[in-house]
Amino acid sequence: MTSKVNALGWAVVVGMAVLLEAPSAPAQTSWLFSPYEVKVWPALDRSWDADGAWAGKIERTVRDCCRMAAGATWRLEWSEPTPDVAAQMLRDPTGVSPTKIEQLLGPDRLATLDKLILLAVKRVPEGVQVEACEWDVRTQQFGPVIARTCLQPAAVPWTCGQAVLDAFRPLARIDDVTGSTAILRFRAAGLAIEEPEALLARPEKGWVLSAVIRMNDRYGKPRPGGIRPVEWTLLVVRDWDGYKCRADVHTANRAYLGFRASSRVDRFALVERPIWPETQLVLRSRDESERPLAGYDIYAKDPATEQTEYLGQTDWRGQITIKPHEGRVRVLYVRSGGMLLARLPLLPGQTPVAVGRLTDDAKRLQAEALVRSLQAAVIDLIAQRELFAARIRFLIREKNFDEAQQVLDQLRALPTVTDIRQRIDRGRQETNTDNPKIQAIIDKMFVDIQQFVIQRLDPSLIDRLAVELAQAQRSSN
């Protein structure tokens, strides 16, 4: 009895432990210590492999490559997609719809799968083109299409293997973000014991990751529209301690990663690599018109060295080319006139085009232009007035009253404080905007210039000089 009770008790305890641990222990354990579940869908162009002879070779070679490179951190599955999906893959792997993928995989497999790699092999005029593209199941994000061209058919299997490995993007979970530091745990990091596996699962210093937020329903499935890449946010691996990895956060807005991790919100990060020769940064206005923002100054700062470089201005399309910088993140500073508008972290080459949406600064800049030109006009006016005043006083001392009167008339003909203030008012009207924040900035500028004018331009100068002249004339008479 006692043994039965003990056994039952242990069973209960173990069962409770299992149940209690079920949400976390399997997640933590499976996250770190279970391998990536990777499925490869191959699509071979029948005009190239009519008899299917290459299919087997490619599969074997890909498996070998993955075994060599990933070792225990991957569990690879190989299955052919449906013909329609295969056809789409041959046209454009990223054109395969996620819905179709989910449909084909089924919910059970979806729950356990980490990565789906679409591998397409097709004939091109130059030879054989291999394209591999990863679809990350958790974040439902396509990775970049890795394309390789082979001249020799015999090189195709090996190329496929390399393409599959290159298309793979290690996945990490963002456990915490404090200030500009994020704590990450990489998938299957616990299995990356030996060096070769470290290439794929074990993090490296300087790895750049993009962030994705996933909001789930109570069943753990993503809510409609609940998966969202965090724009203009990059994490750069700094160091790690065991399975905990620290990364620097570079973001346009700290609130982007502000979601707290909870049972319903997951934050993930995917490793990114520059595969394009350059990235076109495109700036557009945030409003409905999506106007290209031309003429904005772009500076790039290397967070590692803190060196800043002026890259140029956006052209009429709002575009500027950003070249890769030793594979490192560059923080782009967007300035308009004297004002910093945005800080945009970018990994040049990660994507061919990166679109930044900013508030259109034209009105503020226009106001600033007006204010600056008014400032210049006021400086010149002050100088002229002082000069004329000095001349008048000199002429009065020399008792040359006629010429003094002429200079006084010239002084009167100069713009007055009222004239300047009218220009300020006109400028204010021309630079009205609907954006309250911008309007506040513009209003402040005009207030400042108005005060500048009031402080610097003495409205009584002319009258005083006229009185001096009159007195001198009387004394002389």
Binding site: W316, A362, S373, A376
Partner: protein, 807 residues
């Protein structure tokens, strides 16, 4: 009359002179008195003579001839030669009638020594050997010098005689001898012109002169003339030879100078040879060379029979126009804003998609050589209608070709990329074979202004460029030559077959050559000369203003710390006497349209000038005020100091500004004054020709801009990659806003905004605007009354044959 008795002489007692013995009694007083008187007189005279001799001798020693100064430079004197010892004594020139000395035996000669003219002396004529008059001495000296071949000195002596002593005996003969001797000397040294000149003078004086050797003056002249003309002909200075021949023929005639006939025959023979060669070349269709030969034939002998008619015929068949230019073009670029010469030549050799004809009430007038341009009322569509039928059987571009050109101009990968056009162009459609429509993304009032691009700038256009090009450049020494393509023969046959551009450093020489017909057209008349021509009554020339004024500015190099400061730039504006420079350019009388400006934009030349839509007249031109300039300079220095302290750097020193200028008369003139004025205000500045300045190492660059269409051209001026790219974001914003203007009202307002921004920023240093002039001979027609560039209407030029021969 008083006279002095010499006090020192040999053997004579002073008491014996001048006074009688006192013991003479009353006896025969008269006799004794007479004797006494006689003895007294004798003693006096003897004593005087002796004493005077001594005295004068003593003096004469001091005044003896043999002084080193030439006679003609000495004070005139006569020479008294005494019989007694032949001594020569200089005396004050005798005041005798007609300067003829007539001895009076038994009488006395009164004279004064040259060394002591105060005392009058007397000598008996019996004691006088002779008196040598000064003029005779000079004449003798002249003769000696002539014999010695010291002609210059001889001439000076003779000149004195001619001037002061014209009646000197023997003077005329001596003069004749001098002239002949001199001519002979010149001839022996082969100085034929001088020899002739002397012989002609001799002939005038004495037509019958014959030398000692028997040579007459005419015979000598004939020989000299023959040699002189041979020299001219050898040097091919036929004009001089002809002039010589004409003059001598009219003065002397061939009978008196037989050499003249030979010269004439020789010239005619040479001219005929050339005319024959010209005919041969014409027969071989080598018309340009034939023209050169016949021109040379006429240069040798203008009255050669048939030569003039041959020249006229050749000109009609192959008109060659020589154009005087102030600056030779280094390249051809009809779109150049800042290179007058390149723009001019570009019109000849760079056919373009669209051409600017001239300013109009709303922007410029444009045309396309391919067809008719049309714009929609909403400014969103530009169409080009090509002619459906053509008289020529030559292949011509279709709408598809033009469409390709329009698309290629919007391709950033191609060298002819026009960013403004790329921004605007939405779609291009070929509506059939002969109509192209370009739809724009947004309204733009003058899209054709963006298409003033050479065909060579786009691959599709380059394929047609060779066919469209009317002239091609050819090589020649010292000038640019453009030859009409055979496929583009002038429709009326009298358009230029060749254009020669002849550079001139001094436009006054160009104007002289224009008047003489050596050149037929003058591209750019120096302003002061233009004023003179406008006011002259010379009806053989036509002078006209160009349609677009020239805007003169200084472009600052923003790498210079001071020039990057707007206050310093404004100081420079106030430091330059722009109105004064403008007046000096036009000799005090600037023509209408010339004015000081406040921005690098064309200003109104007259009230209501709609072409100056970009210029804000409400902004006053900054006055010349050195005091204000110095004040602003001080403020700028202070600003730089504060900025340097903030950045923990040393404030920059004001290093000398390098002012670069192109090789152009106006540029040299203007920049010299600017540099001098800046130096006076202690703003160090030195001038340097632009071609000698390494790229970017100038601080200020003088630029003369031709802004045909401000709306489109300001981007090429201030935009990235422009002539004066501005780092100022406000300027860039103003440029963008201007490009986004969708109506003429917005264009005017926003371009004036640009003016205001550049005014306050002093983005460039504006100087003034000038009206340029071109001039041409009345025999040239079709140039046009107010063109924007000289060769704008080259296809319509007609040349009346005009041959200028310098007699």
């Amino acid at each position: 009359m008083s006279y002095r008795i010499a006090t020192t002489f040999d053997g004579a007692d002073a008491s014996q002179t001048g006074k009688c013995r006192g013991n003479a009694g009353p006896g025969p007083l008269r006799l004794r008195s007479w004797l006494c008187l006689t003895r007294l007189a004798f003693a006096v005279l003897f004593g005087l003579g002796h004493g005077v001799s001594h005295h004068v001798f003593g003096q004469a020693r001091a005044d003896s001839p043999g002084s080193e100064e030439p006679l003609y430079q000495q004070k005139p004197f006569d020479v008294l030669v005494l019989k007694r010892d032949g001594s020569r004594h200089k005396i004050v020139p005798l005041d005798v009638p007609m300067r003829r000395v007539v001895p009076q035996p038994g009488g006395f000669l009164r004279f004064r020594l040259l060394s002591d003219p105060a005392e009058e002396l007397v000598v008996a004529w019996n004691d006088v050997e002779r008196v040598e008059l000064f003029e005779q001495l000079v004449l003798a000296e002249a003769r000696r010098l002539i014999a010695d071949k010291q002609f210059n000195e001889a001439f000076r002596h003779l000149l004195l005689l001619v001037d002061k002593y014209p009646h000197t005996e023997g003077l005329n003969e001596t003069l004749d001898e001098y002239l002949f001797a001199r001519a002979a000397d010149d001839a022996s040294a082969k100085r034929w012109s001088q020899a002739l000149s002397h012989l002609e003078e001799l002939y005038r004086r004495n037509a019958n002169y014959q030398s000692a050797s028997g040579t007459t003056v005419l015979a000598a002249m004939s020989g000299v003339v023959a040699n002189l003309s041979s020299e001219y002909i050898a040097k091919e200075d036929f004009r001089a030879a002809r002039r010589l021949l004409a003059r001598l023929s009219s003065t002397y005639g061939e009978e008196r100078l037989p050499a003249l006939a030979q010269i004439r025959q020789q010239l005619v023979r040479i001219a005929q040879q050339r005319a024959d060669r010209a005919k041969q070349l014409a027969a071989e269709n080598r018309l340009r060379e034939a023209q050169q030969e016949v021109q040379q034939a006429l240069a040798v002998w203008p009255r050669l029979e048939g030569a003039f008619e041959l020249a006229v015929e050749l000109i009609k068949r192959y008109p060659v126009v020589t154009v005087g230019v102030a600056q030779q073009a280094a390249t051809a670029d009809r779109t150049a804003l800042d290179d007058w010469a390149a723009r001019r030549v570009g019109y000849l050799v760079q056919p373009s998609l669209v051409e600017f004809l001239g300013p109009g009430p709303e922007g410029g007038h444009y045309r396309s050589p391919f067809g008719k341009l049309d714009r929609s009322d909403d400014y969103r569509l530009l169409a080009l209608q090509l002619p459906i039928r053509s008289d020529s059987s030559e292949p011509r571009p279709t709408a598809y070709d033009i469409s390709h050109m329009l698309v290629e101009l919007a391709d950033p990968e191609l060298p002819g990329y026009v960013p403004q056009w790329a921004e605007l162009l939405q779609t291009v459609r070929a509506d059939g074979m002969w109509r192209v429509e370009a739809a724009l993304r947004r309204p733009y009032v003058l899209p054709e202004a963006l298409l003033r691009q050479p065909l060579a700038h786009c691959p599709s256009g380059a394929a047609w460029e060779e066919r469209m090009r009317v002239f091609r450049q050819s090589e020649a020494e010292g000038r640019l030559v453009f030859v009409r393509q055979p496929s583009h023969s002038s429709s009326r046959g009298t358009g230029p077959a060749e254009i020669h551009e002849l550079p001139y450093n001094d436009t006054r020489d160009a104007i002289d050559d224009l008047k003489r017909g050596k050149i037929l057209v003058l591209d750019r008349v120096f302003p002061a000369d233009a004023v003179k021509l406008l006011n002259s009554s010379d009806e053989s020339l036509v002078i006209r203003p160009y349609a677009v004024p020239t805007v003169h500015v200084l472009v600052p190099n923003y790498d210079h710390p001071y020039l990057a400061n707007p206050t310093f730039r404004r100081a420079l504006i106030h430091a330059i006497p722009r109105q004064l420079i403008l007046e000096r350019l036009y000799d005090g009388k600037p023509v209408a349209g010339c004015r000081v400006i406040s921005a690098a934009l064309p200003a109104a030349g007259r009230p209501g000038d709609a072409s100056a839509y970009a210029y804000d007249e409400s902004l006053p031109e900054q006055p010349f005020d050195p005091g204000l300039a110095l004040l602003l300079l001080g403020i700028a220095k202070q600003q730089l100091k504060v900025a340097a302290e903030k950045a923990q750097q040393t404030p920059p020193d004001l290093e000398p500004l390098v002012l670069a200028y192109p090789d152009d008369t106006v540029a040299r003139f203007v920049t010299a004054i600017i540099a001098e004025q800046l130096q006076r205000l202690e703003i160090p500045c030195r001038l340097q020709p632009l071609e000698s300045v390494a790229n970017g190492s100038w601080h200020l660059r003088y630029v003369a801009l031709t802004i045909e269409e401000p709306l489109a051209d300001v981007v090429r001026l201030f935009g990235g990659g422009g002539i004066a790219p501005s780092p100022n974001p406000y300027v860039q914003l103003a440029l963008r806003r201007l490009q986004e203007a969708g109506s003429w009202r917005e264009v005017r307002r926003r371009s004036q905004e640009l003016h205001q921004v550049t005014y306050g920023d002093a983005t460039v240093i504006p100087l003034f605007q000038t009206v340029e002039f071109y001039a041409y001979h009345k025999n040239v027609h079709g140039i046009g009354d107010s063109v924007s560039s000289l060769y704008q209407n080259i296809a319509h030029w007609q040349i009346e044959p005009h041959i200028t021969v310098e007699e």
